[in-house]
Symmetry: C2
Subunit: 556 residues, 2 copies
């Protein structure tokens, strides 16, 4: 079987100018980055404001398992399939982070015959957005330490600096460090640590901004830490929001590429889906909706995290509504949720599948709770048996759920036509009544309780004493009307990663809150959240190489 | 008077496709990065190997002073002037580092009507080369700490890791840090520190590589540190040179832009001029020599550092010879060398000028020692008086030196025509007999002594006990046949930055050596060399902003 990179390197890409022409873009609307990548103008959305919006389809999934669900692959395949059935479609995806690429095999560019291309560039430096975010983040960090070094007029408490440096790399040695050692010429010593770039608040801001001005305003509202008197200090107090915005003036422009079947794809932004909202940028999604009659987009992890945040955070910041949802599952992953260990997944096991369906069921209920029409996509794997597939179909029929088998990895758009047709039909019947989980006017605690109860199925929440104090303090600061962004394990509906399927009778422990006032949400931590990954014993990088003629090998 | 950025924003740029066409480049030879930047293929040099080389003109200067010399501005202006007199010329420059842009006003894009454009992009992220170098550098650093964390099969001594992480930022708090704190999940604690990206050995390697293979080979030879038994450990021992080369596959491609007068300029690479060799890439210079009948290029700091390294290191690695040298000076800077404080430079002072000429004289002797023809460029400032200028001209006539006044900041190429004509005449008379300062077969100590004696005018060198041990150890390792790269203050011919003019009767103190085996030289440290700058009390970033329509203000 061919690998993703082999399939990618055999593909026939159109010049990006041709893709741009097919989208009726004029030369002022886009800039080339090489022959197969482009940046769209950040003014394009405004220019197209009179055009009606295309239908927005959100692709989400069950709780992820090591078996793999293929959410990005289905997103790309579905976009290709819609084009195949004559619906002008644009895909909107997140851009991958370089760090994990070096660490473990896997990217966010889809797979097989449902990939976005050029996959090497997209998985490496792409058009430099993550590098620009790293620069802006670290310029701010340097300004903070410089401010303290130069006399600390703002009385920043060096023990209470919340804003960390970032690096787009898996580098565990930077998780906890001490900076500023070596005497008065080397700054003021303090404890610090690096996050991976996608965990930067600036990444979340870039993805939630409607334009460059909005971006600058949000940056000025980042809380970098607290004074000795525990008053919050904002970026605007340091007066560097102009310089940081300048560093992001190109990064805010959405990137245009194409899939292996030449379907246009806008790939832009990629915040963490735990301490941030895990969706591509508002500019990407909304620009795609102006350029296509249909937009297929995705959110991180399962529906409990990514879709909830897409619907409660992103659609609010961008002031738009989705038209339908796709919930992706695989036979393998459902069997894992039903208790089968990873090594036994190739064996038929309808009983385990049946048990695992409960996980899917909960996510379906969540989407129903949002009042959105949906289609279930069962993403095919070669080891799926006839009995297993029939069981799922029967189960869906019994519950009157729309379901489609997809085979987009192997067949590209052709493998997603059933899904595409069912979706178009579902959207056309248009019976949606979009309702969010909470109101902005709810207190922060009420918002957390509503999500825990209705989305996770928890009986209760348990607030640590720190979280209780923070809830009061944050409300006092006037931050109570912001959405909450739950940082919970992606593997379980609960906060315990080992509870698969549909756990019941549990509480969600709320350890700590963090203000992302620039991004415009309050992060709620339900456990230890790793914001700087490490490399494995045998990093994927060991297999990577580039041949004499510049061809990349071993990337995937 | 207009600022550089105001002049730049009023300029009329040609589409980069037009510049590429004028250079007879076909579509496979270049890729666009926006409408006014491009990357040239790293295969272009090879493709043009049958074409004769253009004449290579190196622009260097007296020892820099706070008064400013304008070496980059003269380089750009001279390129424009040569085109004006009908000589097809391509300029080859270094790319600026983002860190200093945020810190203090000043970039490496020339000034006034002798700038390379788009100056905002060039001074910010440009085509991402520095970001790619940062990524490759930090991927290697993460691999080193991961190797130790995962069991340390290579027995890397955590106290003897020479390879540091980098950031393209002025961030003094990162100069001396402790990483790996926080227990077994967070790596192995050790002392560490960040350099600024331009101080990365990978930057020097990129600039000294003749192609992608050469780059990979050089990367595999980086010494990252030593075992507990003090044996050097190379990147090839970690087997990650393939992945690092992959990260640099686009960064190795030279960047094509244009000047304010639409003269083509190749801007590529920018290593430090103290712990590295301070020149743009070999690929940039040699590609420019294939595309133009004349190439104007520059080297960092004064002739004692930049030109010496250009001639002893870069021309060896690239196997080429320059055809002529321009030595830039200003009346103001010469007066500073003659003892005038910065605040009194506007007053006429022929006596001080006369004393300061000794600094110029020493650099002239150095270039004569290399056997190269040269022209002195006196870069005009509005405060220069008639008497001062006449004194310099008389002095040059007396010594039979070619001299030209340039006014390229205010007049662009027009202000450099005298210089251009004298240079063409000088090159045509072709009486050069290029000879380097030392032979590769000389011992490391002999190489250091030859540079100190003939280029700096020192009586002797003093070796610290550490340096003595290292000289023996490095020779033992088989590194003795590499060129040496002197890390000395740029402000003085001596190793004492306060000794201006032409100091005599001094020794050069050699504190320490560092192996840059990948780059292919031994760094010789003559004092404390700062490899991570800090921000000033009022960083330039405070004035920077971007308007609603994306226009940058306050950058310069």
């Amino acid at each position: 079987m061919k690998t993703d990179i082999e399939i990618a390197q055999e593909a026939s890409l159109k010049p990006i100018s041709e893709i741009a022409e097919e989208l009726n873009l004029s030369l002022e609307d886009w800039e080339p980055y090489g022959h197969t990548k482009a940046k769209l103008s950040d003014k394009l959305l405004d220019k197209l404001s009179d055009k009606p919006n295309g239908k927005i389809i959100l692709v989400t999934a069950i709780n992820p398992t090591p078996a793999g669900e293929g959410k990005s692959t289905v997103t790309v395949g579905l976009g290709q399939a819609l084009n195949k059935i004559g619906k002008k479609t644009v895909i909107a995806l997140r851009e991958p982070s370089l760090g994990p690429v070096m660490g473990i095999k896997g990217g966010a560019a889809g797979g097989g015959y449902s990939q976005v291309l050029p996959m090497e560039d997209i998985n490496l430096h792409f058009t430099g957005d993550l590098h620009a975010i790293t620069s802006a983040n670290n310029a701010l960090a340097a300004m903070i330490d410089n401010h303290i070094h130069q006399g600390n007029a703002l009385h920043i408490d060096p023990r209470r600096i919340e804003f960390k440096r970032v690096m787009d790399m898996n580098d565990r040695a930077l998780r906890q460090i001490v900076v500023g050692l070596g005497g008065p010429l080397r700054g003021v010593p303090r404890e610090d640590g690096f996050n991976i770039t996608v965990a930067s608040e600036i990444m979340a801001i870039l993805c939630l901004s409607n334009d460059l001005n909005d971006l600058k305003k949000r940056i000025s509202n980042i809380v970098i830490g607290y004074t000795y008197q525990e008053e919050p200090i904002y970026v605007k107090d340091l007066a560097v929001e102009g310089a940081l915005t300048m560093l992001l003036k190109d990064a805010i422009k959405p990137n245009l590429v194409q899939t292996i079947e030449n379907t246009p794809a806008i790939i832009h932004g990629g915040p963490f889906a735990n301490i941030a909202h895990g969706c591509n940028s508002i500019l990407a999604t909304k620009t795609a909706a102006k350029l296509g009659d249909y937009v297929v987009t995705e959110a991180g992890f399962g529906a409990d995290l990514g879709a909830e945040k897409f619907l409660d955070i992103k659609t609010r910041a961008g002031n738009f509504e989705p038209d339908a949802v796709v919930i992706v599952a695989t036979v393998r992953a459902l069997k894992m949720h039903g208790g089968v260990p990873k090594n036994n997944l190739t064996e038929e096991n309808v009983d385990a599948l049946k048990a695992g369906m409960e996980n899917l069921k909960k996510h379906i209920e969540t989407i129903e709770g949002f009042g959105l029409p949906f289609v279930i996509a069962i993403n095919k794997f070669p080891t799926d048996t006839e009995n297993e597939v029939q069981y799922i179909e029967a189960w869906c029929n019994e519950h009157q759920y729309q379901v489609a088998l997809t085979d987009v990895w192997a067949k590209g758009g052709e493998g997603g036509i059933e899904l595409a047709e069912k979706l178009v039909h579902t959207i056309d019947s248009d019976n949606r009544n979009f309702t969010r989980v909470y109101e902005l006017e709810d207190s922060l605690e009420t918002k957390i309780r509503k999500i825990a109860h209705t989305v996770y199925g928890a009986d209760d929440i348990e607030l640590s004493s720190k979280a209780k104090k923070q809830l009061a303090f944050f409300e006092e600061q006037g931050w109570g009307n912001l959405p909450v962004c739950m940082a919970k394990t992606q593997y379980s509906l609960s906060d315990n990663p080992s509870l698969l399927g549909r756990p019941t009778g549990f509480s969600i422990s709320i350890r700590e809150l963090r203000p992302s006032i620039g991004a415009g949400f309050i992060v709620v931590l339900t456990g230890d959240v790793m914001t700087m990954p490490g490399l494995p014993k045998q990093p994927a990088a060991l297999k990577m190489d580039v041949t004499e003629d510049g061809k990349i090998v071993g990337l995937f």
